[in-house]
Amino acid sequence: MEFLEIIMDRINYFGAATLFVIGLYTVLTHPNLLKKVIGLNIMETAVFLFMVSIGYVSGGNAPILSSVKEPITEAYVNPLPTAMILTGIVVAVSITAYALSLIIKIYEVYGTVELDEILEMRGD
């Protein structure tokens, strides 16, 4: 019971770690280039989830001045990680866009997006 409680208290962190590993596994093992990009996106999501969870204060208000008429508690959620993750998302989107455009080019010249077939074609 105590073990379950420990997990439930840190459920976000466990979720982030699981997502990170799923993403990493996809990137490393999947021969399809598109799925590798998806794997990267899952990894990025894992880190974002982790970072937002760090700043979360249980029962805290949104960190906007006068958002709530009568704030119930004095506690506020830490806005810094959220703001940083906004930057992180922008970066992730641009990386994904660039990776996808590269995949289009690779498909044009090799005629496939499977890594093993491409490596066979290159002969190494």
Binding site: V27, M43, E44, S94, I95, Y98, L102, V109, Y110, R122
Partner: protein
């Protein structure tokens, strides 16, 4: 004039160049060339003045937008970061002057303005990483650098370029995400992102949350190890650096990798601190082991290569081992020599890539076996190549000799004579793959049988940068104190 604002102005000028270049130039022409060179020279002179001011007035912290450092972004303007920025801008100015004619051969004409835009963004990334004293800011600049360094490879429309860029992009992003995870874990443990503030909190955090710090160190080491191409994680480097257009290869091999090494040093020594790294974990020993393996294996791989640019790329893996060996010693002499070799290898590898690129420009020969007698055909280019290659081997008079000399002294001072054997072995292996090129270039007959010495036959804007870089190699080799004076002031900020 108040020089305090200069770091931000350098970044601003470079960003302006990146935005305006494709707008001002529909086609690549003289006006566009003047604009590109103007931007570079303005930023170079600003950074030169900043270096002079920092050397005379001392280093300072610059708060961007005057926000308090705990929530805002802070730049650390000290002796080494300004020198590094000056070096980055100096080398890239020379490489860009070289590229003005060379790039026409490598990419489509309509892409040339975009190429220079990417080069400026690359510089923004490098300058930003070097200056910043904030971990999340480091991540953002790292991503700018990762994207642009992949883009200047894939801009050349060739099959292998796309695959090399994709491989580089995947590993680079993987590394960035690992780094960001490390940043998040450290932020969780300390509550700050500013490196100085974090470093104050680290001893407390180490007591309370050792797992966080350990995990963060692991993630960051993996990320930066991939980006800085430490030996077992170097697989992207040969593909990326050999298939890229020549100016990109010179920039990537000479500068981009070095910037990540600087970040590694910041995190290991300024942030986590020697107390945890050396006394509690002994992490520096492992860095030195990997570096030693890399020094030998990189050279062995290089011997087997047939393509000259690929050989140079593998040689980079070996040379990065020297830098990491210096870090792994974790003594002030070791740090000093790795900072010295950052500059010295940047000079030598750029000269090698540029001269190899000049040979490819004129004769289209990429295979090492085709190079016999090329010294008569292109004397200036091959003399530059020979100077840099002899420096790599460690012949006295070149900057490479001084790095090996200082490294050997540092190894002996740290009482680890085993690494001296590795250094000697690696130098010997360097000679095995560099000397045959020099010998066949100057001593073997030309393929067409003629023995006349001809002019190089490449544009002057391509020969001049090479000659200047070769001059720097000899200058640093004979007067290493010019660099060492700055480095001696930078070392105490790490240890």
């Amino acid at each position: 004039m108040d020089y305090m604002q200069f770091p931000l102005i350098i970044l601003f000028v470079l960003l302006l160049g990146a935005v305006l270049t494709p707008l001002l130039m529909k086609r690549f022409n003289q006006r566009g060339t003047n604009f590109i060179l103007g931007v570079l020279i303005v930023s170079l002179s600003i950074s030169g003045y900043l270096l002079f001011q920092v050397m005379t007035q001392g280093s300072y912290m610059y708060n961007v937008g005057n926000w308090s450092p705990t929530i805002g972004i802070q730049f650390s303007i000290d002796a080494f970061s300004t020198m590094m920025v000056f070096f980055i801008l100096l080398m890239s100015t020379l490489v860009v002057v070289y590229s003005l004619r060379d790039i026409e051969h490598e990419i489509l004409p309509k892409q040339i303005p975009v190429y220079y835009s990417l080069i400026f963004l690359l510089l923004v990334g490098m300058v930003g990483i070097t200056f910043t004293n904030d971990l999340f800011n480091t991540y953002v600049f790292m991503e700018i650098l990762a994207m642009t360094s992949c883009a200047i490879i894939s801009i050349k429309r060739k099959k292998e370029n796309f695959m090399a860029a994709f491989k580089y992009l995947m590993l680079n992003t993987l590394a960035s995400i690992s780094f960001l995870f490390g940043v998040a874990l450290l932020y969780m443990g300390t509550g700050y992102l500013n490196i100085t503030e974090m470093a104050n909190q680290i001893p407390v955090a180490w007591e309370l949350y050792p797992t966080n710090i350990l995990l963060a160190l692991g993630f960051m080491a993996a990320g930066l190890g991939i980006k800085a191409a430490v030996f077992p994680m170097h697989t992207w480097l040969p593909d990326a650096h050999s298939s890229a257009p020549t100016p990109s290869s010179a920039l990537l091999s000479g500068l981009v990798v070095k910037v990540y090494i600087f970040v590694t040093m910041k995190i290991l020594f300024r942030l986590i601190g020697t107390e945890i790294i050396i006394v509690n974990l002994g992490l520096h020993n492992y860095i030195a082991y990997f570096a030693a393996v890399g020094m030998v294996m990189g050279s062995i791989f290089a011997i087997g290569q047939k393509d000259i640019k690929r050989m140079l790329a593998y040689s980079s893996v070996a040379q990065l081992g020297y830098i990491f060996l210096g870090i792994g010693l974790a003594t002030s002499a070791g740090i000093g020599v790795s900072l010295f070799h950052v500059v010295s290898h940047g000079l030598m590898k750029s000269a090698l890539f540029l001269s190899a690129g000049a040979v490819i420009y004129k004769t289209d020969k990429r295979k090492i076996s085709d190079l016999s007698g090329i010294g008569y055909e292109m004397p200036i280019t091959m003399v530059v190549f020979s100077i840099a290659a002899l420096g790599m081997i460690g012949i006295p008079g070149m900057s490479g000799f001084m790095s090996k000399w200082y490294l050997a002294l540092a190894v002996l001072e740290a009482n680890q004579p085993f690494y001296l054997v590795v250094i000697l072995l690696s130098s010997f292996l360097n000679a095995v793959y560099y000397l045959p090129i020099i010998v066949s270039a100057f001593l073997k007959p030309r393929e067409d049988g003629s023995e006349e010495m001809t002019r190089d036959g490449i544009p002057r804007t391509m020969t001049m940068p090479m000659i200047i870089i070769a001059g720097f190699i000899i200058l640093v080799g004979i007067f290493p104190q010019i660099l060492m004076n700055i480095i001696e002031r930078a070392v105490p900020t790490f240890l």
